[in-house]
Symmetry: C2
Subunit: 353 residues, 2 copies
């Protein structure tokens, strides 16, 4: 009765093949809105212990699948694992988000960075991927992921979250050669990390460019998009990762959908600030699209969630290549029952006669 996994509707949709119904998964689906996640996080003692212990990372990765008819699982991890493996000292301060103990402050700091070896320096991630894949037992495909070079460079130069990341921007303008060196080192690290996740069992790959949208167009092309394309090219040349669909998601960068679609990637993530039908018309049939319900809408009533989910499906239209998702991650305030309403609505409403 089980569909062979390469024919799973999630992978088919990423390849723009016909599907029986629109697949759905939810960014940050293993997260604080779930009481069972909060219990495991409590038991782990810290977010970092949770992310770095393969058994616990596996446990929370699988939790949302037990509740909802989701079409994909995504490795539970943090986007800052690579800077941590480079020696920058990732840690979390309660209520303040991630911080790095040794942010990059000088050209020398950047010049001495190396490319981590995934199977040694990031072994806990690879072990988690192997364990999750085994525990999933082919129920749904597993997505591996990484942060984008620009997004990681933002954190690595700032040392923590920021609303503007003006240190990274100032470095990009004042010493572009050094910024390019940093971005190149990160891009090689991300490609190697994602290829290793593929070898460990990930069945689709995604790059999150959370802060690309903070850049003006000229700097987006030079400092973000260029390295996203570089990663896609490296992955496509890899014997294992080269067979997997790659999704790029630059939040707030809807002005760049056309050129992103030309990167050689298979799909683009789309945030909620554009009509997904407009996005589809702009990229044509070059890539699949993933998105794009406003995450805040899950705070509304079930009826409103149904209406807005149908609006997204109708806007995309009867074309292949839609993976339903939120336009960004689910937030901790959301009632899990609202997620069930969304998942069921997407499946029921999109079911092809």
């Amino acid at each position: 009765m089980t569909t062979p996994i390469p024919d799973h509707r999630f992978l088919r949709a990423l390849r723009r093949e016909p599907v029986d119904m629109t697949p759905i998964w939810i960014m940050r689906q293993a997260g604080r809105y779930l009481p069972e996640y909060r219990a495991t996080r409590e038991r782990a003692g810290s977010f970092l212990a949770l992310a770095q212990t393969p058994e616990l990372a596996c446990e929370v990765t699988l939790q949302p699948l037990a509740r909802f008819a989701l079409d994909a699982s995504i490795l539970f991890s943090d986007i800052l694992t690579i800077p941590d493996a480079m020696g920058l000292g990732l840690h979390f301060v309660d209520g303040e988000g991630p911080k790095l103990r040794h942010p990059l402050r000088t050209k020398a700091d950047i010049e001495k960075l190396g490319v981590p070896d995934p199977e040694t320096d990031l072994r806990y991630v690879m072990d988690a991927v192997r364990l999750i894949r085994r525990e999933l037992n082919e129920r749904v495909p597993l997505i591996g992921f990484a942060g984008s070079p620009w997004t990681l460079a933002c954190y690595m130069t700032e040392g923590e979250g920021s609303s503007s990341f003006s240190r990274a921007k100032a470095l990009a303008l004042d010493d572009p050669a050094t910024m390019h060196r940093l971005l190149d080192t990160i891009a090689r690290s991300v490609a190697s990390y994602l290829a290793a996740q593929a070898a460990a069992g990930a069945q689709a790959l995604m790059v999150f460019d959370t802060w690309g949208g903070l850049l003006p167009p000229a700097q987006f092309r030079e400092f973000s998009e260029r390295y996203l394309k570089d990663i896609v090219h490296r992955l496509k040349a890899d014997p294992i990762a080269g067979k997997l669909p790659v999704t790029l998601f630059s939040k707030g960068a809807n002005g760049h959908l056309e050129t992103m679609a030309d990167s050689g990637c298979d799909a683009l993530g789309v945030d909620w600030t554009i009509d997904i039908g407009d996005a589809r018309r702009r990229v044509g049939d070059r890539v699949a699209l993933q998105g794009n319900l406003d995450p805040s809408f899950l705070a509304a009533s079930p009826d409103a969630i149904r209406t807005e989910a149908r609006r997204v499906i109708d806007s995309f239209g009867a074309h292949p290549g839609h993976v339903f998702n939120l336009g960004h991650g689910i937030t901790p305030d959301i009632n899990p029952e609202h997620v069930a309403v969304l998942v069921d609505t997407v499946h029921e409403y999109s079911r092809r006669g």
Copy 2:
């Protein structure tokens, strides 16, 4: 030697008339990046005392003009003066931004809101406008401003800042009639408040839709843009305000420039995530544009600031109707000398033979 103020290059540019050089002012130009501002703020005892004491508001409004060759001044005030006048209890918690003591939680809360009378309920603002206009002594025009209905509704329902304002969004979906009632009350209040600022001496008017860009397109049109247009129509029908240029600025809403340009406004603010030349091609000669240097670029070196300022001017091109500005407010970390570099570069580079 003084140019009569109606012919000042700032007002001429807003009317899309030829100018001798591109005018510039800077969002939040009276602010924490200036030591003299911090001294006055210290003397005032609190941000609220500073904003609510006309003599002090006048003092900080004029401070940046003493340092830089800016082409406009803007009333020093807060966008939450209207919710405060409606009885919601504006206050500031150090390091946390504005808060409202009585956020709107029920339909009844919304139904009992009235439209404040500017000359009684917001007398301190009108007194500040009159005093600033007198003290300016026709050096440069004075801009009056208000927050947009959607942006004020976000704060009024949430009670404080938020990255998503999901309370406002959920109300908009679950009870659109009540949200429209709220937005209509605010729109009438904003129009009356701006008309009163015009009567008190403001020479240009601006509406800041700081959070419009958080909405998906359909909801932006229904809950934000509609009320921006309503305000423009009301102002254009006013005997005094009707003669002043009106600028609308929806941050993060570049997908809506064309329809915003059809609102009857005179100019649009443009954030830094779009090439201003592309924005100009999209709106044609219907409106002037104000923007759009990335505020973070002021953290870079003077040379980089000059390069990027020239890029914005070149991108806009040799057309009438450009008011140079940042794409959003200046931040407290900026060196005031970098602002001088920007202002001088804009004037020198744009000077027409």
